[in-house]
Amino acid sequence: MIDNDFDRRDFLKVLGWGGATVALTGCGFTSVEDGKETVVSYVEAADYVAPGISVYFNSTCAQCDAGCSISGRVREGRVLKLEGNPDSVINRGKMCGLGQAGVQHHYNPDRVREPLLRNGDKGETITWEKAYALIAEKLNGVSGDQVDFLTGTVSGHLKVLLGNYLDSLSSKNHFVYEAVSPAVQRAANLKSYGMEMPHFNINKAKVVLSFGADFLGAWISPVHFAQQYADFRKGVDGQRGVLVQVESKMTLTGANADRWLVVRPGTEGILAMGVINALGAAGLHLPANVAAAVKDYDKERVSKDTGVSTEHLVKLAAILKERTPSLVLLGSAAEGYAHGSENAAAINLLNQVLGNVGKTVEASNAVPFPQIAPATGNSSALRLANNRLADGQCKVLFTYATNPIFTAPAEMKFKDNMAKAGFKVAFAHYLDETALQADLVLPLDSALEDWGTVVAEYQPDGVQIGVQQPLMEKLHPNTRGMGDILLALIKQRRAEEYKSFDDYYAYLRTALLNNKKEFAEAGIEDDIFWNDLLSNGIINVGGNPNKLVSKVATDFQLPAPVERDKQYPFNLIPSVTASLRDGRHANQPWLQESPDPLTTIVWDSWVEIHPRKAAELGIVEGDILEVASKNGAIRVQAYLFPGIHPDAVSIPLGRGHDALGRYAKGYGVNPFQILDRVFDKETGELAMHETLVKISKVGNRVIVVKDEGPAGGQQAGRKIAVSVSSDQVDLSEEV
């Protein structure tokens, strides 16, 4: 039981919900569903329920790792809508579609509700006590080295607890796997700037040159960058910012660019070198080693290699030279090759040559408590974990917040390898592909029911710790928070150390109160501090600025663009869409029905192919194509898309589930499955764009389900969406 050492009534006056949760986690359940049979009316409503009045509680969004602070609208004990918390420096009161769909994660009808134990092909409901006992039993006699944890990004106190649990098992095998992550860039940034994630101040730049960084869509912290983008468009000193996007497949950011430069897949680095060369030619002073490194990248050669016209190359150099500061960004389209690190190095070099480091690329702050700083994911972790499973080194596998069976290339045979582990435990919200293979599935609370702290990797201003608190009582009585589960597990090993913590809430409170002096003015009372913290939903700590350096390095070698493979003539670009990302939220119907911004397709996958190429191959929209790599084939409807290099085809990630739930299962295809096993040489990351494919028609044709009509985004001469050249308008008069 929680010892209520503060006046509970006062507490509720301030906070309402938090207090109720204390009660429910500690003293058994007083769910809103309780008593519905006896018609308990609002005559005697619970303290936190004021009929007809909405209350807003701050928490942190868990839909992606950007760590936006949210404000949940709660009425009559139910969370209705997620809005942005205006005090957050990350999202400043704004939200993306994915974040708003968090309520559909919470209310999802396909959530796992009971602990399930595998019994043949079926899951058998068991009690939590049994489940814990089973874990203890299975861990018995297994050495720490044989226990693996495969998780998605974790941060905050959950990460601490997880670390402690691994410690107690004397295991060091925590693999943090994110299928889609800027891991190559982190390594490159560390080399170039001395830190993995510096600040990218789009709003301070007059020109942004982005090499495939979809910062308006799915890149790192899209809501934050979208706001910076809005400022950037309004301009520094009244001069409207100019966005140039370089990529082989148009992303949402590319669709908003003033100039979208299509490059041959993989030649982003060459183009960057070409721009440096052109800048030198335009009179920008280049350090000697840089000048030497780029001297071969004259505009004719670069134009030939990349497909960008010399005219645009010269114009680009001119505008970059003229309008400073600028900002060069680097995204997954440049990273996803075997030479991804080299591409990244070349692109960072361009930033350095332009003198942006220190102006638009600025030092970020280190999280003052390294133990809660995020453990960022990458795909090389999957490779390591997979190798261990394949070799039979892992006896007990825990998975959390990751779905490797869905996201790993089929060629890695993760599913088969996973079967080799003796005992697999999945902490899961849904029965996704991975949970289905587990021996024990433990149902988790949704992010709107659970306690926690979240520290985002990208911190735009200082360091913001997001506080996650329940916005309503548990929907299902038998789910548990990840923190509570870890605490229970850790107590199996170190009962003594953790006996003072009845639950994760107590642990979290104690942990934060212990560091009170770091977060608040001295002398503040514990309860007031705690209440403030919960009502703010965020804790801002200054953090220690990382030391920004600009290490100009030219010791990388960009490979010449590859000749087209006759047998596999297309590069497959698996695109990351803003709403579905790596597919873990595919069971949220708002996201399925939210049209892809560029194609307006809903509820299905598609393969994008350039109209010219399609005409050559006799493909029309809706033709079912077989897209085959060396490692497999998928069948998917064709969509003729002008924003793609004719040598590339693109299929979005995130769909093609054969589990997860009613809104995800059976919709679309999963391009992860056919990816080739090519890795970035330097970082060992999976080179997502390196897969070569061939396409062939299979004969049938479907009607593509999309919002766009057959006019195909043409306006037929009606003045509907109008565009104007910047020299035609006077933006200075605008409000």
Binding site: G709, A711, R718
Partner: protein, 460 residues
């Protein structure tokens, strides 16, 4: 050509027509059973649609109107030639109308009833239909009198009830004949009740004549207004392809056209089924066919005018709709509509086909298909190609449910019509007598003045 004999015994007229109430050919029962079946399909589809929602008709958000509205206009249109035959030709003293106007009027009434059904079928919330009725209510709310749909409702109500009254008033003397000749069963009671004690006294005839004439006078502008108002549903809107000033006359012409074509069809069927060969003569058929041909040319002219005005205007949006009709997904239907509506009737210009029953039956059915397509081509393409390109055609195609209800309406109409012809005299006995009488009088006069030789038989 054989026409109604002038010396035909009046008693025989009575006999022949009354026989139609008793013993039609077997085909009658075949038609009734088929109509019942088709109507049953329609009812089934409607029940399904009513309980599931209009989505099962497969309409979508730009294409909010489908075949229901097209069929609605079609049925309204069909009603017009009944009025044409009975009212306009009555005023013009064209006596050849007399043997056929009764069933034409019945057609008017029943096609209006069918059209009314489509209004109901089309509604998303049929069970709230009464919201559209202008009656004082405790909610203190009235319908919106600005809506052309309400004008429609009002016009159709007026037209339907006036048509029924016109049909009924004109039938009273015949009902008396039925009463006098049928002495058993429910029919006796029905005719006694409906004939209101008519005995053919001079006072009755006097008032009857004036009343009949007055209603006929009202019906003509009413009929024109009804279809102009239906045209207003479209012309009053802002949509390209609809917002056309020539729509009202165009609709009226189309209405008369499809109505006349339907009259030819029904003429042929009734003539056979109820053995009316002696009354519904080929000579009358020929006149009807010629009328139809003339109207088809009027329609063709107005149709071309519509295309021409759109084509030569600067209204790019309306032009785009027209182009889409000719080249887009609806093109086959549009071309077929033009072919059936303007080319096929040319057959009617040939004298030898004007009385050729199989040809006429085929042509008249084709014309009706063409006119139905016309209505569809008015309604659908505008939704597919309106102002807003983003919402253009979503491969909208009516579902089987929608087709089922449209087919069902034909069953419903046929059923009502055939039952009517079985219960009430579908040839006006007293007026055929009048016709015969007047003709014989005229002949007598000619004989008397000795001009028989010169005038010859060209009188009719």
């Amino acid at each position: 050509m054989k026409d109604i004999r002038e010396d035909i015994a009046w008693a025989k007229i009575n006999n022949d027509v009354l026989k139609s109430l008793e013993s039609p050919r077997k085909l009658f029962w075949v038609i009734i059973i088929c109509a019942l079946g088709v109507f049953g399909i329609g009812v089934g589809c409607e029940v399904y649609q009513y309980s599931t929602g209009l989505g099962v008709a497969n309409m979508d958000n730009p294409h909010v109107w489908g075949l229901y509205i097209a069929s609605f206009i079609f049925w309204i249109g069909m009603s017009h030639s009944g009025t044409l035959l009975s009212a306009i030709l009555h005023l013009m003293h064209a006596d050849w109308r007399k043997p056929i106007y009764r069933f034409a009027e019945a057609m008017t009434t029943f096609s209006l009833m069918t059209a009314g059904l489509f209004v109901a079928v089309h509604l998303g919330r049929l069970w709230q239909l009464y919201y559209a009725l202008p009656y004082p209510n405790e909610r203190g709310i009235w319908p919106n009198f600005q809506s052309p749909l309400l004008w429609d409702a009002m016009a159709i109500f007026t037209y339907l009830s006036s048509s029924i009254l016109f049909l009924y008033v004109g039938m009273i003397p015949d009902l008396a004949i039925c009463r006098d000749n049928i002495h058993t069963g429910w029919r006796k009671k029905l005719y006694t009740l409906l004939s209101l004690g008519w005995e053919g006294t001079d006072r009755l005839w006097r008032n009857f004549r004036v009343t009949y004439l007055t209603i006929a006078c009202f019906l003509i502008p009413l009929a024109v207004s009804v279809h102009s108002i239906v045209a207003s549903d479209f012309a009053m809107s802002q949509q390209p392809g609809w917002h056309i000033t020539s729509f009202p006359p165009y609709f009226v012409a189309g209405a008369l056209y499809s109505g006349c074509a339907a009259i030819i069809t029904l003429f042929i069927i009734l003539r056979y089924v109820f053995k009316f060969e002696e009354y519904m003569t080929l000579s009358i058929l020929k006149k009807t066919v010629r009328l139809t041909f003339a109207i088809s040319m009027v329609w063709t002219y107005l149709n071309l005018i519509e295309y021409a005005t759109v084509w030569y205007s600067h209204d790019e949006v309306a032009k785009a709709v027209l182009l889409q009709k000719a080249t887009g997904p609806y093109a086959p239907f549009w071309w077929m509509m033009n072919f059936l509506g303007s080319i096929v009737p040319l057959v009617l210009a040939f004298k030898r086909f004007q009385t050729h029953i199989p040809v006429l039956l085929t042509v008249s059915l084709l014309l009706n298909v063409g006119m139905w397509l016309e209505r569809w081509m008015i309604v659908a393409p505008t939704f597919s190609h309106g102002y807003y390109p983003w919402t253009w055609d979503h491969d909208q195609w009516p579902s089987l449910v929608q087709w089922g209800i449209v087919f069902g309406s034909f069953g419903w109409f046929t059923l009502l019509f055939m039952v009517f012809c079985k219960v009430f005299p579908s040839v006006s006995m007293y007026e055929v007598k009048e016709m015969v009488y007047h003709r014989s009088q005229a002949t007598k006069k000619l004989e008397a003045t000795g001009k028989m030789a010169t005038a010859g038989k060209g009188a009719h």
